[in-house]
Amino acid sequence: MNEIVVLNLWQFSLVYLLLIVVLAIMKKCQINQTKLLFVASLRMTVQLVLAGLILTFIFENPHPLFTVLYLAAMTAFAIYTILSRNKEINKRFKVIVAVSLAGTGLSIVVFFIMAVVGVSLFNPQYTIPLSGMIIGNAMTGVGLGLRSFRENLSAQRNRTEALLSIGVSPPKALTPLVNESLETALMPTLHAMIGMGIISLPGLMTGQILSGVMPMTSIMYQIAIIIAITAVTSLAVFCSLHFGYKTLYNKRQQMTY
């Protein structure tokens, strides 16, 4: 196995030429998102350069505090992203989503890093990339689950009111909507598992193989991380929705949304 080829900056910049292809297609199909393409590419580049610089600094000065700070910033940003996309939900619901995402995300991170990989939680080389994958996927899952739940809730408003009016308790009327949204949030992860290794080598495995890790080691990491992602997605969405829906009615069992 060879060590990874370090990209030459000039050769690397060739990849940006591919964006011209995207631009051409957009022009041809009259998709007015050229500005977004430009902004997105720029943001990605700047954010990753920053991440690269910060990680270089942390790896050279491996103080536990840096790892903890990085983890906290990542979690906070994930929570912020979800809440800014779901402004309509009430305050208590938002708190529940934030606590669920942070609580389940960090628990799975601790279990994964300390028990499965078996290194210190303060080892930035493991904790930062792996927790990024775990918390990032939890964020996607909760975002998907929340959106589906909100859509379900407004689409099924008549049903909910009809059931409450005849003496069905709000939990009994609402849990089917919670369960349906949980299923929606889990489907992408489950479908991704099915195609894994056949259609493409997944990201983590690709990275490890590129840097010279034995394939059998990299598949173990890959399997472990996918199971961790499935677990964190179901846990985070379950906690968010299962505790969150209880904020939608008051003590008199009246809907408040």
């Binding site: 009809a162 409450l164 009016s165 005849i166 003496g167 308790s169 009327a173 008199r252 069992q253």
Partner: protein, 231 residues
């Protein structure tokens, strides 16, 4: 005898009800008035789907806020104007509703009985999706009726029905309720039905022209007992 419901100086959002509003036990009470004057709001107040912003709602002499809301709604059942049915057949719909109410499914004979009351001729395995709005609403009414509440609140039960069917269905429901001493409170804008079936009429009418709150006059206590419908 205690009133079934008493409303004392009740207001909810921009609707202000008359200072005293009484609904007696053992009568078929109709609530009339133009749309937007709080008819549906009144029904929702009566089974605590909403709570009054101010004033008191009494059920059998006790504040409605002292009752367990879910048990109260099983006792004072509110059949909404907007029909809700699940996907599937009539039989499946009865089963689904009973499952949500955590009751054992009703027998086919019982279901047939309630369908007959509401003038529905379909088989139990007829698909509700293929029915008209009026037919679907009568099935919804039959389901509500089958729960045997003590008080039944009907919001515009006949708005989707032609006059003859409306008359037949309502007659069946009222007859059943009288037989089983279920108190019936009906919101309707159909004056013919009101004249035919009402024992008492509550009129919610716009009196003042203020934008903020609407006041009403009421002639509930006139007990407009009309000929031909004395129990």
């Amino acid at each position: 005898m205690k009133n079934l419901f008493t409303l004392e100086e009740v207001a909810f959002e921009d609707v202000t009800f008359p200072p005293l509003l009484e609904i007696k036990k053992g009568e078929v009470t109709f609530i009339c008035g133009k749309s937007g004057h709080g008819k549906s709001t009144l029904l929702k107040l009566l089974n605590n789907m909403i709570s009054a912003d101010s004033g008191k709602v009494l059920y059998l002499g006790n504040s409605i806020e002292n009752y367990n809301p879910v048990q109260l709604r099983q006792e004072v059942l509110f059949c909404r104007q907007a029909t809700y049915l699940f996907e599937g057949t009539i039989y499946e719909n009865f089963n689904q509703f009973y499952r949500y109410r955590e009751l054992p499914p009703p027998s086919k004979k019982e279901i047939r009985h309630y369908l007959d009351i509401c003038a529905i001729e379909f088989d139990l395995d007829a698909d509700c999706n293929l029915m008209s709005g009026g037919e679907r609403h009568r099935i919804y009414l039959a389901i509500c009726l089958s729960f045997q509440p003590k008080v039944l609140l009907l919001d515009e039960p006949t708005s989707a029905l032609d006059d003859a069917t409306a008359h037949e269905a309502l007659k069946g429901i009222i007859h059943h309720c009288e037989e089983h001493s279920i108190d019936l409170i009906v919101v309707s804008h159909n004056t013919t039905l009101t004249d035919t079936f009402a024992h008492a009429v509550i009129r919610l009418e716009n009196k003042s022209c203020s934008n903020q709150s609407i006041a009403y006059s009421v002639d509930a206590d006139t007990h407009a007992r009309l000929e031909g419908n004395k129990p």
